[in-house]
Subunit: 385 residues, 4 copies
Amino acid sequence: MRKLRMGMVGGGEGAFIGAVHRMAASLTGEIELVCGAFSSSAERSRKSGIALGIAPMRAYPNYRQMLEVESTLPSDARMDFVTIVTPNYLHYEIARAALETGFHVLCEKPLTTTLEQALALKDVAARTGRLVGVTFNYTGYPLVKHARHLVGLGALGEVRKVFVEYLQGWLAFPVERDGQKQAEWRTDPERAGAAGCLGDIGTHAFNLAEYVACLRVREVSADLTTFVQGRQVDDDAAVLMRFENGAKGVLCASQVAIDEENALTIRLYGTKGSLEWRQEEPNTLVVKWAGRGREVLRSGVNYRDRLCPQAIAASRLPCGHPEGFIEALANLYRGFAEAVRHHEGEPLAPLLDHPTLDDGVRAMAFVEAALQSSQAEGQWKTLKL
Amino acid sequence: MRKLRMGMVGGGEGAFIGAVHRMAASLTGEIELVCGAFSSSAERSRKSGIALGIAPMRAYPNYRQMLEVESTLPSDARMDFVTIVTPNYLHYEIARAALETGFHVLCEKPLTTTLEQALALKDVAARTGRLVGVTFNYTGYPLVKHARHLVGLGALGEVRKVFVEYLQGWLAFPVERDGQKQAEWRTDPERAGAAGCLGDIGTHAFNLAEYVACLRVREVSADLTTFVQGRQVDDDAAVLMRFENGAKGVLCASQVAIDEENALTIRLYGTKGSLEWRQEEPNTLVVKWAGRGREVLRSGVNYRDRLCPQAIAASRLPCGHPEGFIEALANLYRGFAEAVRHHEGEPLAPLLDHPTLDDGVRAMAFVEAALQSSQAEGQWKTLKL
Amino acid sequence: MRKLRMGMVGGGEGAFIGAVHRMAASLTGEIELVCGAFSSSAERSRKSGIALGIAPMRAYPNYRQMLEVESTLPSDARMDFVTIVTPNYLHYEIARAALETGFHVLCEKPLTTTLEQALALKDVAARTGRLVGVTFNYTGYPLVKHARHLVGLGALGEVRKVFVEYLQGWLAFPVERDGQKQAEWRTDPERAGAAGCLGDIGTHAFNLAEYVACLRVREVSADLTTFVQGRQVDDDAAVLMRFENGAKGVLCASQVAIDEENALTIRLYGTKGSLEWRQEEPNTLVVKWAGRGREVLRSGVNYRDRLCPQAIAASRLPCGHPEGFIEALANLYRGFAEAVRHHEGEPLAPLLDHPTLDDGVRAMAFVEAALQSSQAEGQWKTLKL
Amino acid sequence: MRKLRMGMVGGGEGAFIGAVHRMAASLTGEIELVCGAFSSSAERSRKSGIALGIAPMRAYPNYRQMLEVESTLPSDARMDFVTIVTPNYLHYEIARAALETGFHVLCEKPLTTTLEQALALKDVAARTGRLVGVTFNYTGYPLVKHARHLVGLGALGEVRKVFVEYLQGWLAFPVERDGQKQAEWRTDPERAGAAGCLGDIGTHAFNLAEYVACLRVREVSADLTTFVQGRQVDDDAAVLMRFENGAKGVLCASQVAIDEENALTIRLYGTKGSLEWRQEEPNTLVVKWAGRGREVLRSGVNYRDRLCPQAIAASRLPCGHPEGFIEALANLYRGFAEAVRHHEGEPLAPLLDHPTLDDGVRAMAFVEAALQSSQAEGQWKTLKL
């Protein structure tokens, strides 16, 4: 099986997330980085490419040139897909251009900065017949897949309540005014979109909730806050949710929760049982059964009799050998790669799923509805889709 | 120091909460049960009294007679205060009558079934000059007292966000239709009040939030749900809160959260640090400091250099010897007893605090505002006080 | 049912353990303190008695007088049993005298300071027909009882391995030279016996291991250490154990484990499953089943379908309402009281068990064998019984 | 910086550990697999090589041919080092041959099957001037490095006590008789050496103890057990240890601990503080300070002000993004690669350490002493070095 060839936009030297994506793609053993436009500076892009061992001529000065040149290469050399790891405001134009040039796209979240753009992208994808994946990477963890499996099977009964949280503390102070690059663009509505915390991490939580609950959110009531004075976007969000089946949800996201690291958690209560998963200790899933008490499930390739096939496929090691964030992102890359291969003619359907364009669009609808609700003092707003 | 004499209303044989109150009062070593009207049935009251070793003539057929007879006893024999552990709907009339007859009152929460009653009771208390305590017992834990101390000192900076949860699972099924007595009256609006879960456990969470945050809630936006078909009151509540200083809060209470036992937790985030406490493991308090990481505080009488005086006073044992629910309730009883003694002339001010009439009234204002907000589809409602 | 009348030796003002015993006895609702010889100083004994509300004439100047006078009281007034909470070296003479005078005895651990004394006491008890209980209180926890139940049933298969630990840090420094009373006598071989840490907490661990494993230790190999210079007894013990069925055990006890509080834990591995319990979070028991994963059991009176009758009988509150150390000790008192009543003619056999004279004797045999093994550089020594 | 070229012996298709080593080496971004003798079957080796994308002619039929051919290649093409992932009994001959042919060696643990072989290998390495690393991979975790740093600094005072455990449950049943390949050779003294559990995982625990304690073990007293009938090697080990400074240690390893996964833990108590680390949740380190309580340290590249430089260098992601087993092994590979580069002339000393030949030799001395002690009924045996 040949490796898929990947081009990267963004992620040059010093960019945390680009390096992580490369490690994850590499860990799959199925993808190789062949080209990139790693920086808005042509010089930095070239240097990054060399440092990464890319052929110098394929370290392009900008993404437009990358798309143009790569599309002229013979099919056994040109890249198979573009992965986009730039700040949010560039996602739309790059993804659109890549699709139009004929490339599949794997895009960082949030997919776009507005719902309008997301819907437009959906049209382009439909027209061009190219795939779009979105890196809501937390669904790549084995036990998140098993959680969804249990809920989907009905093992926990009908879902009644979903609590999802994503707490961080790194924006508790105005670090964007102290030269922290990540903070700078993430708190700048021009580059991040109108939603701050809500868009940056609230969308992950939203995606996780829908993924695990096997349900769609219908409407939301939100209270967004900007705690750090002078900041232009929200840094804290509380969102009440109503799902299509009558289930209720509470989504809390904050980036001013001091000393919280990356505390994404989900708890779901059904009529027969409940579950709890915490991203910071991802190899454990607690399931509580009505009348039977609490069961602690653990991940590991040897738990074939305890975990669903997707969870096993998403694991590399025997139980007790912790797998983490990079591994989860690698699972997303693998799922996307499998989808690309299948789309290109590989008869086997993908074993691993991955967040799709629709997930990206829904997240933008969530953001828009929550922004509107908060502006309307908590009035319930329906996701427009 | 003489023991205070206590009369009990409710809590006859088979009533869980009455027995717990008696164990707690006894554990203080400062209170003795001398009389009671333990049941709505005169016969059961008498039997309960005998089983409890009360003088038979002081096991009264009803609370009215108890108040009447006790008030005629010489001051060195008659009870000092009444503790009320009946279903909610009786609190008001009993508390009122006790105050009017000249007795101090310690009342189970919620104080009354309506805000109107609570305010009326406040007037009576003011007029009669008698004390009213409310058994929001979770503030009796040593580390809750220390949490409040840290916040009150400003050690965590200005409070920004408070998450408080109280999850139980015992009403996930319609057990009130299967003869479960506790469930019966707690889901009957006639006996429990218009609020179900919100009144029963939401009020505990509300009180804990205000206690630890050293702040008052100004307004709320709520979404109450009745998940179990046919039930007449809410069994799940999500409430967004805004505090007077601009802090935000999220209060989640549920009685349909399968296999949750008594999962009351609070997490508070300030500008300098944060804290987390869980009732089910009450002897641990996690404090997270900006830039310094996580500290795990533990309770114990020997931690005089680490915990505030109230926390030490509320502890009986050296570290590592777990103290629990009964001990916390005993702390509340002790605080109330100290307040009564002080009121009666004891020069020393109480060492331990206890939830007061005002706490009881505020909780009712919270319930009323949340009910109204939920009926108004999440419109923010101000606590009327 | 009348309350049993208890006399206490030791436990005067300021003595931590005496107060805890009184709280525990009181919590049973079945025992009342009627007399005592609370201190080696007659004056302090009298004062303590008054503070405790004992009739002044029954606050005896010393235990001999207490035994003498009480034995002359009419049977409906005199104490039913003596509880001994003095330093170790006094246990033997007091217990012996009490038995000889006709009283049942509940004695703090270790039962005596030598095996020889313990065996002598056993003879006296046999001769006098009086009961002796030993306050190995950690077996009073509900989930310890359930752990024993599971093992006894064979649910975990044949026991292979037992790990038991008891770690404290309070003797990491030479506090006995700074006036710490508890440390003074516990590190003085004259008053504590030849074993320090081994006798003080190692015996608890030993008792817990045998109780939960439903097995007896046959031989031990030990390495005892005195880490704090100048201390006359061990402050750290590592003991390898072999049980009668071929199971192996590792017992670690230390009082120099900095910042450990009262970290008594047991883990047991059988051929079908394993279990883990931690005293500092006593309301949780983890059971791991071969091929089925991990189950988290919790205590609570409402778990009648999940826990054995002893565990339920040892619980007072519904799940999620933590019970702690005092409650566990109260269970021991209740079990002993039930045994006394049964011995005195009450037809019902005790529902709760309690650590017996044999447990006390075995613990002394363990101490002696471990001391000898350590002196013999780890040679295996058989418990002499 | 050019990638180091790696040759692998063992680790063909289906071999768990070979795949993990390749993922780890790849994750460093500094090493590429260029050749291998992946199986004792020439055909399987060839197939594995092809599947791995190795040039077919460099998928050698056996390790001898690999060494011979590779040594004839030009220096800019031939492999830089050999990684050995075969069963234990082959380590010695392959490592020896590789060294003699001029290649550096990274060898799976245990280094050899006897101490004699290990010492012989040390001579060869000294004579040839080649490097030998041993994959005691658990020291590759960031917080293990920080733990060693704290102890080395003296922050915890003088070490008194070390508890180290490694518990697994996968050999609780005679799976070696059911065709489980891993179990087959690991329980076969011919292929695994005279020590079973002790050699397989006890050596990891031993290495971790010495690494974190910054101390060497002087002598041991052991009790080894074979619980599964018919098994030819120990499957459980309890070892008491004495360190050179007078500290004491307890090492427990078991492979019959039902449902334990890979439970390697270390707890260390010094005169000023203590620490605790658990491999299954490797991103957390608990440090307890005398008089100051408990601190929870977490890993993450952004904790430059909280963690030592080695711990930071061993991290790839910001806090809250879990890193696991593969990442830790990658750190070992990176440390070894840095050492190789340094040895080959790179001026910069390695930033990351790695377990060396001496660590491998010491572990064999530990195994031999423990085997002898157990055969001598617990007599203390000195490590012969």
